[in-house]
């Protein structure tokens, strides 16, 4: 990572990163891709999110589904850990709770690949500043 010598350099970097990030979720962008966020805070890891994270990474690539799988901090749904959030370009993100490997498989096959609605989604009940 290069040193940022000025505040402007930081702003430029931010703009570039923002554009790139926005492009990921746009349906018609060349960069667009499915984004998977796995909750990997202490509560998530304790409930087994690590294998889910590995599973999503490995299986999506094995099954040739281009996707960006990242770890994130706590989403707040501790009662339903592990939780993962899926964003299909052009659509709103959907959060799933109680995700084990079986559920993860179902999410890949039905929700992501076939675009079906499946059980176990958690309604996002907050607004983010």
């Amino acid at each position: 990572m290069a040193k940022l010598e000025t505040a402007n350099a930081l702003m430029e970097l931010r703009e570039a990163l923002k554009e790139k990030g926005a492009a990921l979720s746009q349906a018609n962008s060349p960069l667009s891709t499915i984004q998977v966020k796995v909750t990997m805070a202490t509560c998530g890891i304790a409930s087994g999110s690590k294998p889910v994270f590995e599973f999503m990474k490995d299986e999506l690539s094995k099954r040739n589904i281009p996707a960006k799988v990242t770890q994130v901090g706590c989403m707040g749904f501790c009662y339903a850990e592990p939780t993962i959030e899926i964003t299909i370009p052009g659509k709103s993100p959907v959060i799933f709770g109680y995700v084990n490997l079986k559920k993860a498989d179902e999410i890949i096959e039905h929700f992501i690949r076939k675009g079906e609605e499946i059980e176990g989604s958690i309604q996002i009940n907050y607004e983010t500043a």
Binding site: A7, T42, C74, G76, A129
Partner: protein, 486 residues
């Protein structure tokens, strides 16, 4: 559905905490950049003061004023301390922020350094938070290599760096003076304030101590302006508060709600109501030394002042929900047990008084209490609160006092009726055989570990109360529901 607004948690669950790019893409370090290039320290402090942000670590002291005090003390060296000790059992707000968004704390501490004139920051974190520590270290490495921490930040000539210090897990070490002594290698016990750390803190130098969540609010206040922030919340408590919902509630987890949200909204709308559809009885806020809120407080807007008026406090944001099955005397005893463990022992009211409170509660839950004991609890509790040296003792009697105030009948029942309506206090329970239902199968007698049950085959059985240890084995085994608890 009632709205949660995520300000302190805005990046948690959104960004990859190990990637600084993710943070920057969400306007990370923009506040620092604008502070360093466009704003004087006074101007930043003014923004904070106008925003109405109060400390989230428990005391609720206005952050802007604290920064100003630290700034105004003349000294050759000052320090910024982030209090990440989070000792309340069941609380994990700060841990979640550090694990989900470590950069926000680094950015805010650096801004604080700029405003107060400190060039060194220290994060005091409990050693039991290894993941948070790891992520903090990663984040510090990244921001250093990008010139956002360390020497000559963003080419502005401002220097600031941060170290991590580990706490050994004593609850009282979260108290700021104790925390400072612990960092100095001394016994982790509080000292009398004043002098406040802002005037004389770490190594006797002015030290600005803020909580993790307080820091997490700072950058966005600078980015979005104090007007935006102060439009959220109540008159005297601005912004949001993160709570860790726990206990008999369906959606256990982290929530962030605007100040002024009612308990009813929190429990029934956000928390999904009480488990198994049971009745709500009380909610404990403020951690082990908070008080309980009851049905009559369900529609009280939650903010610093209302909680204190209700005999509790905001604390760091633990919110534990109790239902009809919880015995309030036993709950008070449970919390007292914690404070007795965690008192540092420096001052007599807390060291000895809490022990005596605990003993009195134990006496009552064992069925040996008198009405006089309830008076003693009240007097002792009040004296401990008003004479203790630090916040621990000044609040530790809250669970007792507020349960006596809100549930006097439960105390009276324990004392005069020798009864625990919630069937929690074992000594007050009696296992009885219902003659009509008992068919004399002898199963209970054979399973009683202390041979307290007698009776011939096909005859009604009898439990000798003097032998019974209240293990409940008989009740579990009886197929005819012939054993009940009185």
């Amino acid at each position: 559905m009632a709205k949660q607004i995520r300000i302190a948690l805005r990046n948690c669950g959104v960004i990859d905490p190990e990637r600084i790019e993710d943070y920057i893409a969400r306007d990370g370090y923009m506040a620092l950049a604008s502070v360093l290039t466009d704003l004087s320290p006074e101007a930043v402090i003014e923004i904070l003061k106008k925003s109405g942000l109060r400390g989230r670590g428990g005391g609720g002291f206005p952050a802007g004023i604290k920064w100003e005090i630290t700034r105004n003390v003349v000294a050759d060296q000052k320090y910024v301390v982030c209090n990440a000790d989070e000792g309340d059992p069941g609380a994990f707000m700060d841990r979640s922020i550090l694990e989900g968004d470590p950069h926000v704390v680094l950015e805010a501490m650096t801004i604080n350094g700029y405003c107060t004139g400190a060039s060194r920051g220290l994060i005091y974190i409990r050693a039991e938070y290894p993941l948070a520590v790891e992520r903090l270290k990663t984040a510090m490495g990244q921001s250093r290599s990008m010139g956002l921490l360390g020497e000559n930040i963003l080419g502005t000539g401002f220097n600031f760096d941060i170290d991590i210090r580990y706490g050994a897990g004593a609850f009282v070490c979260g108290e700021e003076t104790a925390l400072i002594h612990s960092m100095e290698g001394l016994r982790g016990e509080p000292t009398v304030k004043p002098p406040f750390p802002s005037v004389e803190g770490y190594l006797k130098k002015p030290t600005n101590v803020n909580n993790v969540e307080t820091f997490a609010n700072i950058p966005i206040i600078i980015n979005k302006g104090w007007k935006w922030f102060s439009s959220i919340g109540t008159e005297k408590s601005k912004g949001t508060k993160v709570f860790a919902l726990a206990g008999k509630i369906n959606n256990v987890g982290l929530i962030e709600v605007p100040m002024g949200t009612t308990l009813r909204e929190v429990i029934y709308e956000i928390g999904g109501g009480i488990q198994y559809g049971k009745a709500f009885k009380a909610a404990q806020t403020g951690g082990p030394s908070g008080g309980c809120l009851t049905v009559k407080h369900l529609d009280t807007p939650i903010d610093y002042d209302n909680l204190i008026a209700a005999g509790s406090m905001m604390g760091s944001g633990g919110l534990i929900v109790m239902d009809e099955d919880d015995c309030m005397v036993a709950i008070a005893k449970f919390y007292l047990e914690f404070t007795v463990e965690e008192s540092c022992g420096k001052c007599s009211p807390c060291r000895i008084g809490n022990k005596r409170l605990f003993e009195l509660l134990e006496k009552i839950t064992q069925g040996n209490g008198t009405m006089d004991d309830i008076d003693k609890l009240r007097n002792l509790g009040t004296v401990i609160k008003e004479t203790s040296l630090c916040g621990l003792g000044q609040s530790s009697p809250n669970p007792v006092l507020s349960t006596i105030d809100n549930f006097p009948e439960e105390y009276h029942e324990h004392v005069t009726g020798k009864k625990c309506r919630s069937k929690v206090c074992k000594s007050l329970m009696q296992y009885l055989v219902v003659a009509d239902k008992c068919i004399g199968c002898t199963l209970c007698a054979r399973n009683c570990p202390v041979d307290a049950i007698s009776g011939e085959r096909k005859q009604v059985h009898f439990i000798d109360q003097s032998k019974c240890i209240k293990c409940g084995a008989c009740m579990d085994k009886c197929k005819f529901n012939a054993i009940i608890i009185n």
